[in-house]
Symmetry: C2
Subunit: 583 residues, 2 copies
């Protein structure tokens, strides 16, 4: 968010949170303040933090995360708000720090059940949230209150919210200062310090330092890069490296990046203008985001610089830049389709310079590697962040985090945004700058940090943060049972046995049917299938039909015996589904 | 393999390959030499290269690789020898460069079908191959001929094989010099130069330089680390870093590493002796390998230094080192079991220092991260190669590769062992040291490089290298169809519909049965299941039973209509299995 002249504060009343910004120790009559994360402390993504003081609840960010291993078929995971069940009317607002999916992705699926509280956010983020809300076909209008640096917004009796500008790799990112009855808590959100940002103002160091000067109760800071030494590089530096690639490239330049990385897109468009190239944008989400940011004035694009699909083949190679999604190797994303020759217009050719202008999200390493292999095999030259500075991360590295600590001088410190290992790394940084370890809280998702007149502590209280999995239209309807079945099915497939039995006599009618999928290729394993069929026949013939609960009994017997038989024959354990039809 | 005084050569005859070591251009009357890789050029693992000259075939290494994404349930993948079908009697031997699974893992499942050719390898590798062969319950004795540096071994009319010692992170690794009718081809295998190795001699630079002096036709060199600048670090350096950890640790030290990394195990045992700790070895493969190497004299272990499981709890924390498998987060491996509290004796406690003395194999990043999280959550301190030099890779980095090129001065260069991206990076290094690009062959698996009197060239000829997938006892019986089914089942599960129909009337008997697994949790979705059942009933009632091929037709109709119905209701596409029983 661009820094602006500070407007008059919009504080409507004088809540308890207001007077105590200096963190004095004079006794305050207010309920305990509870702070806990509903996500983001044991994973990357699903960022969501709750602040609760008496009848006032504030939520910061509602992100989603992509499924972990062992969650086949799941689209994504959203925060679990069961801890707020019945207290929806206490929610004073949802503060959204910036427009990335790990901070906004859960909004469309949860905001209704939270009773449509007001969303406080910056203009670009608001645009992205609205767009996504529409895509979900949500009829009800969101309540969004735009905020900017310098505002102070009362939220209930106990909180005053004051945004402060930070850098990230999307414009309009801010950190949230929450003035509470016990002092000011700073929540950085995703942040970095960029002294030479693109399409953005530098983080407001003065504003941040002023918090420090007045006294900060606690700092909650981004751990994503807490294991990386040094300072994060500036977006401008990426531009300089890209400039060298543009200057040297004789053929087409193809750049894959995150669709939300609009500052990067801006730099590429600016370089295209400089080098007389036209830009072809591939990928729906990239196109949507650029259109949105451009229409809101967050991007500067000269007329005529953006090319249409059909123009691409008319322009000579040295006149084209292709800006596309898919640098993470996502199925069906633009770069993937181009690499696999599935795009109608663009095909890789020798002489293409391809830039992966992004880091690799953990878990995508093999897919990205195989995408690069495919591109290189077709004669392209590939540049990536491991061999060139073609990507600047959006997160504070170790020295940046120390700078944030030195500027704000918090009494308590709580690492957020990262799995346990990163949270611990972040905590060690706090120790390095001299914070006593007992004032540093490394919490789990749902674990409550309590603030009151006596100070703060990490409690043993934990709210429910079970995964809410989204699969197609289903939200939370995929249980552990279903996942376990999917994993078992993926491992060794399924083996369905259908036997028809005459009800009166208990006699098997005909031969049992056997259908298998994902186990062995049936056509080439007729002998095994025949043996299995004979085995089923024998089980059914030998079993005493007069036994009570015959059907249940015979099903279990078929399941166990056939499981054993198939395991001995193949060392595989397909799921066995016995179906007994009585006629 | 320790360098030794050169024994007399064991060359029995004077094959055509012998006289031409200097790569002279005088005309040679011999068949064309074909060289191709059956694996290792588009992947990490499955290393296997074939040299064929007239009626002489040499194979170097028969490794396996772990499954890639999209291969659920597969155990591993072995080389496809269909190109040698019918020519088994021409195989003059299998040269095995060292004892890692990506070089030996395919032997037990293929050596029989190749007609049990002689395996030429060093003693430790031989021991590991024999052990693995036994584990597979193979009755027939392998034919193994031990080799050592300085030997020259005739293999058929056209080849003389001469091993030369290199370093890797297992003892007894060698490169293979093959003297062919057209000159000497050097195959590095996995290699690094370690001037201060552990339990090993340094790579024999003199021997390697002598090849260069006499003339080298082609160099085939390891690309694994061809993208890493600089030199690979020495195993000794890891020892020095470990020493600092041992000196500082007050509690237990737990070290996870590869079970085959015996030089690392040696260093840890030596450090334990120095610091008065006992070593507890956890993990069957680690135990087996250490026993084997120790019994063969490849490891020095003082009596009494190895502790038994039950001793671990009697010894005080500062007297214990636990050396274990599972640093890749492998399910059921020792460190994983310890972290998850599944080990009977060892439980993580605050004060434990845990060292991940290994790199992370691509694809394992998330699992390893989650393992570290689990350990850190229990209060342990974790050291890994990203923050300390606790692991030395076994592969030449860029400067090492250049050193190998400068020493051997080959006419042709062929990067091996690595996916396309790494092969290209390796090829660029060859260009950097001045080799003409047309003499550098970046091949695909199965693509034939041809050598004759006119020189060498990368041809368009390709032999079959289709994956042979191993799943349980099945070798090659999992087809693409089966894999596709497994992936589909994992994504959205299965929906089985069983309808019984009276043959005479074509009438539905009773209500159709519905069983689903991995789709939705049936108990909580009764309404959907009931709707589905009604829909099936309607389809069966409405369909004209007099149509020809009624059963096939009705099955397709149920599959399509129910697929559409479930997709509309859930946006999921379970596999639909219609079963029509006619009675």
């Amino acid at each position: 968010m661009p820094t602006q002249a500070r407007p008059a504060t919009v504080t409507a009343q004088r809540p308890t949170g207001q007077p105590n910004v200096a963190g004095q120790t004079n006794k305050i009559i207010a309920p305990k303040l509870k702070v806990y994360a509903l996500g983001g402390l044991e994973e990357i993504g699903r960022n969501c933090t709750v602040f609760e003081c008496g009848a006032d609840i504030i939520i910061i960010d509602i992100g989603f995360m992509f499924p972990e291993e062992g969650m086949p078929g799941i689209d994504y995971i959203i925060p679990n708000f069961s801890s707020l069940k019945g207290k929806e009317q206490n929610i004073r607002g949802v503060i959204v720090t910036h427009g990335h999916m790990d901070h906004i992705g859960g909004i469309p699926l949860t905001i209704g059940s939270l009773g449509f509280p007001v969303i406080y956010t910056a203009p670009l983020t608001a645009g992205i949230i609205r767009k996504r809300h529409e895509e979900f076909g949500n009829p009800k209008q969101l309540k969004i209150q735009l905020v900017k640096d310098g505002m102070k917004i009362a939220m209930g009796r106990h909180f005053v919210f004051e945004p402060f500008h930070v850098n990230h790799n999307i414009s309009d990112a801010f950190g949230a200062a929450l003035h509470t009855p016990y002092g000011t808590i700073l929540y950085t959100g995703d942040f970095k310090f960029d002294f030479t940002p693109v399409n953005d103002e530098p983080a407001d160091l003065t504003h941040i330092a002023m918090f420090g000067a007045r006294g900060v109760l606690a700092l909650m800071a981004d751990s994503t890069n807490a294991e990386s030494p040094g300072h994060q590089i500036s977006e401008k530096q990426v531009g300089a490296e890209m400039d060298r690639i543009f200057a040297a490239a004789k053929g087409r330049i193809i750049i894959g990046t995150f669709s939300s990385l609009l500052t990067r897109a801006q730099q590429i468009i600016t370089l295209a203008e400089k080098y007389g190239r036209k830009v072809l944008i591939k990928g729906r989400s990239m196109q949507t985001n650029i259109d949105l940011a451009h229409s809101m004035g967050y991007m500067k694009i000269k007329p005529g610089i953006i090319a249409e699909d059909h123009e691409a083949n008319r322009l000579s190679d040295e006149k084209v830049v292709i800006l596309c999604t898919g640098a993470q190797g996502e199925k069906n994303a633009a770069l993937m389709r181009i690499a696999n020759n599935e795009d109608r217009f663009i095909h890789i050719q020798p002489g293409d310079s391809i830039v992966f202008s992004s880091s690799v999200i953990p878990g995508n390493e093999r897919t990205v590697q195989s995408l690069k292999d495919t591109l290189v095999r077709q004669g392209a030259t590939v540049f990536h962040y491991q061999n060139l500075d073609v990507h600047a991360g959006g997160h504070a590295k170790q020295e940046d985090l120390k700078l944030m600590m030195r500027l704000t001088k918090p009494r308590y410190y709580m690492p957020i945004h990262g799995n346990r290992f990163l949270l611990e790394a972040n905590a060690r940084l706090a120790e390095e700058v001299g914070m006593p370890r007992e004032n540093v809280f490394v919490a789990e998702n749902g674990q409550v940090v309590e603030y009151d007149n006596k100070g703060a502590r990490l409690t043993e209280e934990k709210v429910n943060t079970d995964h809410i999995m989204v699969d197609g239209l289903g939200v939370g309807d995929v249980s552990q049972v279903v996942l376990r079945d999917r994993i078992a099915l993926a491992e060794d497939g399924i083996f369905v046995i259908i036997a028809t039995i005459e009800q009166k006599t208990g006699k098997l009618i005909g031969s049992p049917d056997i259908i298998s999928r994902g186990f062995v290729y049936m056509r080439e394993n007729k002998e095994l299938i025949e043996k299995a069929r004979a085995k089923v026949k024998k089980i059914l013939t030998d079993t005493d039909k007069r036994s009570p609960a015959f059907e249940e009994h015979i099903r279990n017997k078929v399941r166990n015996d056939m499981g054993q038989f198939l395991f001995t024959a193949t060392k595989r354990r397909p799921m066995i589904l016995p179906v007994i039809i009585e006629v």
